[in-house]
């Protein structure tokens, strides 16, 4: 069963005196159980709109969404869901401990369960030191950690995180990345939105790219990049002059750096041939780096391709 399934999900915001905008346009998407799915798009692409529809904060204009087969507008579906909003806001007059207790009650956890939960989550998110301070005084990073803890209350199998790393410093981003991976190890499904490609590239199994409310691409990171040949950078030492000549013919680039030489080869097969040649010629392979096509380049191309088409305004 898919953890998330949407079919033709559409949201048009309309209001008195406001121009109606189609913020999400027939989104059909499925996220498998146990995967980390990255939801990419620029500002205003409709990521938050999608997420709010999944969490039943918004009512779809048309189309449906299902979480583990349950319609996302039912209360049962929300039992399976942990949600971290874009900028999580909690009651400022409460302490982290009281906050987690409150959400535990909303999830129907008993008092001993809530205590256990606090032990587990305060440990995981390092909340012990600030347990009894009011949230009012907290920094962005602390709030984000509380938000993550709240999303994990009740141990839901699906996490929906709206830009979980935005506004955090490198250490904070890494913490969140590690948390996401850890949740995956616990067999949770994680759906998160971002416009920071590096974060997505590092941890996602699959990504979807949203441009102006439309899903333009969806698939595994490596297949999305598949059309672009991987390059391999080979660093060698001590090769003979004729080996060097042969390699220079095969390589796309060649550089000499002090005592080593660097060859950039156009494919994995070419790299393998080159390694054999170096070894048979008495040389030594010092380093080997695959150079992957960057998701970022791909994203920019996709974006440019679709931006030309004007946005579907509602007549």
């Amino acid at each position: 069963m898919n953890a998330i399934e949407t079919s033709q999900l559409t949201k048009i915001y309309s209001g008195l005196g406001k121009k109606a905008t189609r913020s999400l346009d027939h989104l059909s998407l499925s996220v498998q159980e146990g995967e980390i799915f990255g939801f990419l798009g620029r500002n205003g692409a409709g990521k938050t709109t999608t997420i709010k529809l999944l969490c039943s904060l918004l009512k779809p204009t048309s189309g449906e969404a299902f979480l583990f087969g349950q319609n996302a507008r039912t209360r049962e579906s929300r039992r399976l869901l942990g949600y971290l909003p874009e900028q999580p806001y909690f009651y400022e007059f409460l302490t982290p401990r009281e906050t987690l207790d409150f959400y535990g009650k909303l999830r129907g956890l008993g008092s001993s369960e809530r205590t256990r939960q606090w032990e587990r989550l305060s440990e995981l998110l390092d909340l012990k030191d600030i347990a009894h301070q009011r949230i009012k005084s907290f920094s962005k990073g602390m709030r984000q950690r509380i938000g993550f803890a709240v999303a994990l209350v009740g141990d839901p199998p699906l996490l929906i995180l709206d830009e979980p790393m935005s506004g955090l410093d490198p250490v904070g981003r890494r913490t969140i990345r590690e948390l996401i991976l850890r949740c995956r190890d616990e067999k949770k499904t994680i759906f998160f939105s971002s416009h920071v490609l590096a974060d997505v590239e590092l941890i996602c199994d699959r990504v979807g790219i949203l441009v102006r409310g439309q899903l333009t691409q969806c698939g595994r990171v490596d297949t999305l990049l598949g059309g672009h040949v991987d390059q391999v950078e080979l660093v060698v030492r001590g090769i003979r002059a004729e080996t060097q000549a042969t390699l220079r013919e095969q390589a796309e680039q060649h550089r000499i750096l002090e005592d080593v030489e660097v060859f950039v080869l156009g494919s994995r097969a070419a790299a393998n041939d080159a390694i054999r040649l170096v070894q048979s010629g008495g040389g030594e392979v010092v380093e080997l780096h695959p150079i992957k096509a960057r998701l970022e380049d791909y994203f920019m191309r996709e974006q440019a391709r679709h931006e030309e088409v004007p946005r579907g305004d509602v007549a």
Partner: protein, 253 residues
């Protein structure tokens, strides 16, 4: 359970808010200060202390109901604290109900504190207290529950300022519904008269909840009347609450 969790939080929020104490202080000043300011002449002391006390309980209770009530839901939408709450496995009406119960508990506390301290004051002044004094305070509380339910309805529809103005109008008209009924003869047969008659039947008559003069004079009240007023108050509150829940149900957050 979930309703109580929300109610508990609403209560905690208000109790940790300084505004409540400022209001209570003003209420205390108006009760205890009345004598000091010489508003009361010797001889009529006790009656007037009772009357002023009940009037302050009503006024300050209504101020809390209006100012806290009209921002109850709106504030949570505005500050987006709702996102993580509505995405929990709870019904939206449970949220609305929880907010209501929480504020009702605050109002119960406020009326109880004011009633008891004014009662002590009356005893200290050497006056006597009858059950009707407490009954009067209880009916004021029922009135506050009704006003709160209306404030909550507006809180899920409009901004707090507009809401407060509308609730305040309801409060004023509610105390003067008689004027809609007893119109001067020139209104006879006009459309305006029909409209005002509708208003007479729709707007809750808040003077039903007013037992101030009975309490001041220590006159007993017919229990049947009290039961009728209770049913009257609860029905109006329930209707306002249902409307508030319905307004909130389909809202995009």
């Amino acid at each position: 359970m979930r309703v109580l969790a929300i109610a508990h939080n609403t209560f905690r929020e208000s109790v940790r808010d300084k505004v409540l104490y400022v209001l209570l202080l003003f209420a205390a000043l108006s009760i205890f200060g009345a004598k000091a300011l010489g508003w009361i002449s010797v001889g009529q002391d006790i009656k007037i202390v009772k009357d002023i006390s009940l009037a302050s309980i009503s006024l300050f209770g209504v101020l809390v109901a209006i100012f806290v009530g009209t921002s109850l839901v709106y504030k949570e939408m505005d500050k987006r604290t709702l996102y993580t709450i509505i995405s929990q496995p709870l019904h939206r009406y449970e949220f609305v109900l929880g907010k209501y119960v929480g504020l009702a508990a605050v109002l119960a506390l406020v009326t109880a504190v004011m009633t008891l301290s004014s009662a002590c004051y009356v005893l200290v002044l050497g006056g006597s207290l009858e059950a009707v004094y407490f009954l009067a305070a209880f009916l004021i509380f029922m009135k506050l529950l009704l006003v709160t339910a209306f404030a909550l309805l507006l809180s899920s529809l409009s901004s707090p300022i507009l809401g407060a103005i509308i609730v305040f109008c309801l409060y004023l008209f509610g105390h003067a519904t008689g004027v809609f009924k007893d119109l001067p003869p020139q209104f006879e047969g006009t459309f305006a008269k029909q409209m005002l008659e509708v208003a007479y039947y729709v707007i809750p008559n808040l003077s039903n909840f007013d037992l101030r003069s009975e309490a001041a004079n220590g006159v007993a009240v017919n229990p049947l009347f009290v039961v009728w007023v209770l049913i009257y108050g609860v029905s109006y509150s329930a209707v306002f609450l249902l409307l508030a829940a319905a307004a909130f149900q389909e809202k995009d957050l």
